[in-house]
């Protein structure tokens, strides 16, 4: 074990290799490793964010679905109500119409009855005159009793 000038040479080698590591090995590797670490952290954060957004979207879609369901059931209820209303209205109109028709028919019947009565009246007078003529031909002059006949006609 003899210490000699090799010591100096080795110290120079050592210093050179420290310098190489300090200058060319460590900084680029450190940078690359730090950057990768940052990228991984970013990626994980982005994944977390995406997950969160997905949850929000799921919640939103569930909300929308529920809202749509509520709206549709509202619409159905409204439509049912409206249909009932329409039916009611139709019933009302139909009744009015029917009443009108019935009233018309009644009026017509009345008119008809009146006319028939009129005709009957006319005919009754004629028949009475004819009957009376036949009875009275023998004994009564028609012209002599005209005043009386007119009065009779008026009474009917």
């Amino acid at each position: 074990m003899n210490i000699n000038a090799t010591l100096i040479g080795q110290a120079i080698w050592f210093a050179l290799f420290i310098w190489i590591t300090m200058k060319f090995v460590w900084p680029p590797l450190q940078k690359a490793m730090a950057e990768r670490q940052a990228q991984i952290a970013d990626g994980l954060a982005a994944a977390e964010r995406g997950k969160h957004e997905q949850e929000l979207a799921a919640k939103r879609s569930a909300d929308a679905l529920r809202e749509a369901k509520e709206k549709s059931s509202d619409l159905i209820a409204q439509a049912e109500k409206r249909a009932q209303q329409i039916v009611e209205e139709a019933k009302g109109t139909a009744k009015v119409e029917a009443d009108k028709v019935v009233a018309g028919a009644k009026a017509e019947i009345d008119q008809e009855v009146e006319r028939a009565k009129q005709q009957l009246r006319e005919r009754v007078a004629e028949l009475a005159v004819a009957g009376a003529e036949k009875i009275l031909r023998k004994e009564i002059n028609a012209s002599a009793h005209a005043d009386m006949l007119v009065a009779l006609k008026q009474d009917l």
Partner: protein
């Protein structure tokens, strides 16, 4: 195994560095004195470092924050492991500590990993290539205390400067002279501090050196067993995978601890 010389020569040959020095410094044809360079330690550690850090720098330059390639992923895994240790232990702010820890862990690991190549493979190949059958060449740089001391002393100076820079001169000096017994016992505090500061690099470097040297020694002894080395080499190799990783980790971890001690007030 070397052809001649016997067991002792074989072991000694394996534990000898390829030393170069000026001719004037040689004593009996062998290098001695301070101005000697262990060519094998310098070359193997340097080439390994250039290859592995060059590769890492290449992968890092192509690093993307998107899906990483297999190579980038591996480098990021290693670097991330080291960075995690730094984050857990070092609470100050420094652009140096993490790169320093990465450098130590990766470099010490690959140098230790040379130990997993069977002890005679590379030396014999090199001897055949150069034609010199007595050429000594240690392929595990961390078994050379020069390397481990160079690293631990560098770490020591970095921690010293970091302490001065982060705490400021006044605070640093106050800590040197007044902790732990107060200003009245300043000389004792200083002594404690010096012992503490010197013990750190020594223990740091000797721990790595001792572990790797002993591991290498066991490999050499196993290699001496001839055919019987086969059932022994494998378990020791597997166990050694644990040791080399652990030693690299311990060196890195202690460095981080020293840095955090230098940067934090007590």
């Amino acid at each position: 195994m070397s052809a001649e010389g016997g067991t002792t020569a074989y072991i000694q040959h394996h534990l000898t560095n390829l030393a170069v020095c000026a001719d004037s410094a040689k004593v009996d044809g062998a290098c001695s004195g301070f101005w000697t360079f262990h060519l094998d330690t310098l070359l193997v550690s340097g080439i390994l470092g250039l290859v592995v850090f060059g590769l890492m720098a290449m992968l890092a330059s192509k690093a993307t924050s998107g899906v990483p390639s297999g190579g980038q992923n591996f480098v990021e895994m290693v670097v991330g492991l080291v960075d995690q240790q730094v984050r857990d232990t070092f609470h100050g702010k420094s652009a140096l500590v993490t790169p320093l820890a990465i450098t130590i862990f990766v470099w010490v690991f690959v140098m230790n990993a040379m130990d997993l190549i069977p002890v005679d493979f590379l030396p014999v190949a090199l001897q055949a290539a150069t034609g010199n059958h007595h050429l000594p060449f240690k392929f595990v740089p961390t078994t050379d205390p020069n390397l481990t001391f160079a690293m631990s002393i560098t770490v020591f100076f970095i921690s010293l400067f970091m302490g001065l820079k982060i705490k400021g001169f006044g605070h640093f000096m106050h800590e040197v002279f007044a902790v732990p017994f107060g200003l009245k016992l300043a000389p004792i505090n200083l002594l404690f501090r010096i012992v503490e500061e010197i013990a750190r690099p020594i223990s740091l470097s000797l721990r790595l050196f001792g572990n790797m040297y002993a591991g290498e020694m066991v490999f050499i002894l196993i290699a001496l067993l001839g055919i019987y080395q086969l059932p022994l080499a494998l378990p020791w190799e597997l166990f050694h995978i644990l040791i080399i990783t652990l030693q690299a980790f311990v060196f890195m971890m202690l460095t981080i601890v020293y840095m955090s001690m230098a940067a934090e007030s007590h």
